[in-house]
């Protein structure tokens, strides 16, 4: 049982240790490095699942770093002084998403990177990015959150610039890095303001103290701005297509998961940190309208793209819009109408895992296309279905799921969002449905252009590890689509409840009493 | 007590001279002029730090001045190396 107690920190520390030790093992022997990577990945996934099971069965997990015992949260003074990890339902849910995406990325990259140079460096960065995401999701301390935000920023941007022999990846990486850094610094400024007011950095303690003064509001605004940039909400979404489009496929899906970790940070700030002080529905309306705007603009831009990677990237941005819409509706109406507000929250949160699986599948398929024929320009592609049978099947499945075709998972979560947003305002639902239809059109076009038609050129077949990675994500899509009730009941509902009513439990778990 | 105060006053005077050097940094026609101004500011800051360490009565603060004296040299050398050419 002792490993169960330490599971939250092991889930973060083991990938870090794996990343640190990877170059050393690579110096010894190639296959030792690969073995080490597999072992670390498997152990991390096991730890994440352990944490999730413990959290869903026995409530919030608290781990105080450096104290005499893990649950020893409060020093003699009656306030928390050490950094602690707090895992509630939402954190555990996000951890599962990160573990899923990380596993797929690791498996996918396994044979792919053998053909490229710099595999050791890329794998190190991959583990650092993974650990950073898990750290963002499990931590219970504002400054620690910022540190892991920067870890993910820097690791993600380095991975975006992986293809140094082309000029576009460096450009995308520079732009992304500039925006990420400014956003991170604004978050740090907000943390500084909160520290100056309350002399603490622990989320639970701050949440119990925040009153909603002018400075608190400015801090909330800065946090909102920085994190909304990081999740890629219109109009600050412009880094997203660049970065997603130019990154290698296994890095692009990690970027998607990273975006969702930032989204988790946004929810944590809105629901837990400012949950007590925030009563006006204005913030909810802000998030909702940004969600609708994101959805519409991204989908319209996706219609005219000619690069397969950028097209999928705009699709990914539009999915962010759905999540913002769902949780924004929940945020707006929860105090007055909890019954369908909770449904909206469930839809938004359920859409996160669906988005990770579907967009991940599409990016991986696009990566196979790039490797097969060396380009992703839709004007030059065609007839790949003759050579890449499995890949085209997976792409088709992902496209259908993304567009919300029943009985796949995209429909299940979007259905929840439609139902609840209709009761807030039918216009929202109309725009959301329009976005879905346009997405279907876009991906039908992409599928037709890339995979159908006569065979234009020889394509290199996908390697087995790529197929396995795509198969894992496809299995998740099918499972989520065929038995949505099970997942919603056992994973999504605890997560939504943790955000909505869980603030008191969160505070009680940390501060006691 | 008076000695500490006099150290503080001397530090203030050195800071005023730093303003003068900053003027040269602003108007210097060439980059070399600015580099010279930076060098002067470095020396003045080291002296100021030593004086203020005595003025605060804190022994351990003088370490900062030592670090500063050592490392500003590196920065100056980089600038000089750049000025020297090898500019592609």
């Amino acid at each position: 049982m002792t490993i169960g107690v330490h599971a939250p920190i092991l889930a973060i520390a083991v990938p870090l240790l794996g990343a640190f030790a990877l170059p050393v093992f690579a110096k010894v022997h190639r296959s030792l490095r690969d073995l080490w990577a597999i072992a670390v990945g498997a152990f991390t996934c096991a730890m994440v699942i352990t944490v999730a099971v413990q959290t869903f069965t026995s409530g919030i997990q608290v781990y105080t770093l450096g104290a005499a015992a893990p649950t020893d949260t409060i020093a003699s003074g009656g306030f928390p002084i050490r950094i602690m990890l707090v895992v509630d339902g939402m954190s555990a849910f996000m951890g599962l998403i990160s573990a899923l995406v990380g596993l797929a990325s690791l498996v996918y990259a396994f044979h792919f990177l053998k053909e490229e140079q710099g595999k050791t460096l890329a794998m190190t960065l991959f583990f650092l990015l993974w650990a950073g995401m898990l750290g963002m999701e499990y931590t219970g301390d504002m400054f620690n959150f910022f540190v892991f935000l920067e870890v993910t920023s820097i690791a993600a941007c380095s991975l975006v610039g992986y293809r140094t022999w082309e000029s576009r990846p460096a450009e995308a990486a520079f732009k992304t890095m500039a925006l990420y850094t400014v956003g991170g610094l604004l978050v740090l400024l907000a943390i500084g303001i909160l520290y100056g007011e309350y002399g603490a950095l622990n989320i639970a303690y701050l949440s119990s103290k925040i009153t909603g003064s002018q400075l608190d509001k400015i801090a909330l605004g800065l946090l909102l701005g920085g994190l909304l940039m990081k999740v890629g909400a219109v109009p600050a979404h412009m880094w997203a297509p660049d970065a997603y489009g130019e990154a290698p496929a296994q890095a692009a899906i990690m970027l998607v998961a990273n975006t969702q970790a930032s989204l988790y940070g946004l929810w944590r700030v809105l629901f837990t940190l400012f949950g007590g002080a925030l009563s006006a529905p204005a913030v909810g309306w802000l998030v909702t309208s940004l969600g609708v705007l994101t959805l519409l603009v991204a989908v319209l831009m996706a219609v005219v793209q000619t690069d397969l990677g950028r097209l999928i990237a705009y699709g990914a941005v539009s999915q962010i819009g759905y999540m913002l819409l769902g949780v924004g509706v929940g945020l707006t109406v929860l105090p007055s109408r909890p019954d369908w507000g909770l449904v909206a929250m469930k839809g938004g949160i359920f859409h996160m895992v669906n988005d990770a699986a579907t967009i991940g599948l599409l990016f991986l398929a696009a990566g196979v296309v790039k490797r097969a024929v060396g380009t992703r320009d839709l004007r030059a592609l065609g007839g790949l279905g003759h050579d890449l049978k499995w890949t085209s099947g997976f792409f088709f499945l992902g496209a259908l799921a993304l567009a919300g075709i029943p009985p796949l998972n995209g429909f299940a979560s979007k259905f929840l969002i439609y139902e609840s947003s209709f009761r807030l305002s039918p216009i929202l639902t109309a725009i959301a449905v329009l976005g879905s239809i346009l997405l279907l059109a876009v991906f039908a076009r992409a599928f037709q252009g890339a995979f159908l038609g006569p065979r234009l050129r020889e394509a290199k077949p996908a390697s087995p590890s790529m197929l396995v990675a795509m198969g894992v994500l496809a299995a998740v899509i099918l499972a989520m689509g065929l038995v949505p009730g099970f997942f919603v009941e056992h994973m999504v509902t605890p997560a939504a409840e943790a955000l909505w009513r869980g603030r008191d439990l969160y505070l009680a778990a940390v501060l006691g009493g | 007590m008076i000695a500490e105060l006099s150290f503080g006053v001397a530090a203030a005077v050195l800071l005023a001279f730093m303003c003068v050097s900053m003027l040269r940094l602003a108007i210097g026609p060439t980059a070399a002029d600015r580099a010279v101004a930076l060098d002067t500011i470095n020396t003045l800051v080291v002296t100021t730090m030593v004086l203020l360490g005595a003025a605060f009565g804190q022994v351990i603060y003088v370490d900062v001045a030592i670090v500063y004296a050592l490392l500003s040299f590196v920065g100056t050398l980089y600038i000089a190396r750049y000025l020297e050419g090898g500019l592609k």
Binding site: G161, S167, A170, E171, A172, M177, G192, Y195, L201, P241 | -
Partner: protein
């Protein structure tokens, strides 16, 4: 006393950095702007922890019975400074690679990714 002047200076530094990002076009100049924002935030953090008449929170040779300034913001700032250096180094590396490919550092000309 000097009132909130240090806070104002932090904000001026942040605003200068943002202005650089908004108006300048050279990639290295943009990096300088980000460094300035970084400096402003660091100064803000350290300024938060100052206690009037305090000494550094180090007990070696400390005057007995003196007030001490708050240690946490200094610890945070140490972390933040190293993060800033890491960011700067990475951005400059990207700028160098971009120059190697394009022969320019003008952000107006580096816009292959658009639309």
């Amino acid at each position: 006393m000097i009132g909130n002047f240090p806070f104002v200076v932090c904000m001026i530094l942040i605003a200068l950095g943002l202005w650089t990002l908004l108006t300048r076009r050279n990639l290295i100049k943009l990096t300088i702007g980000i460094s300035l924002i970084e400096s402003g935030v660091n100064l803000f953090l350290v300024t938060l922890g100052y206690v009037r008449g305090g000494v550094a929170p180090i007990y070696t040779y400390a005057p007995p019975g003196a007030k001490m300034v708050l240690p946490t913001p200094q610890a945070l700032t140490l972390t933040s400074i190293v993060i800033g250096l890491a960011t700067t180094a990475l951005m400059l590396a990207f700028a160098v690679v971009i120059y190697r490919h394009r022969g320019t550092l003008d952000a107006r000309k580096i816009r292959e990714l658009r639309g």
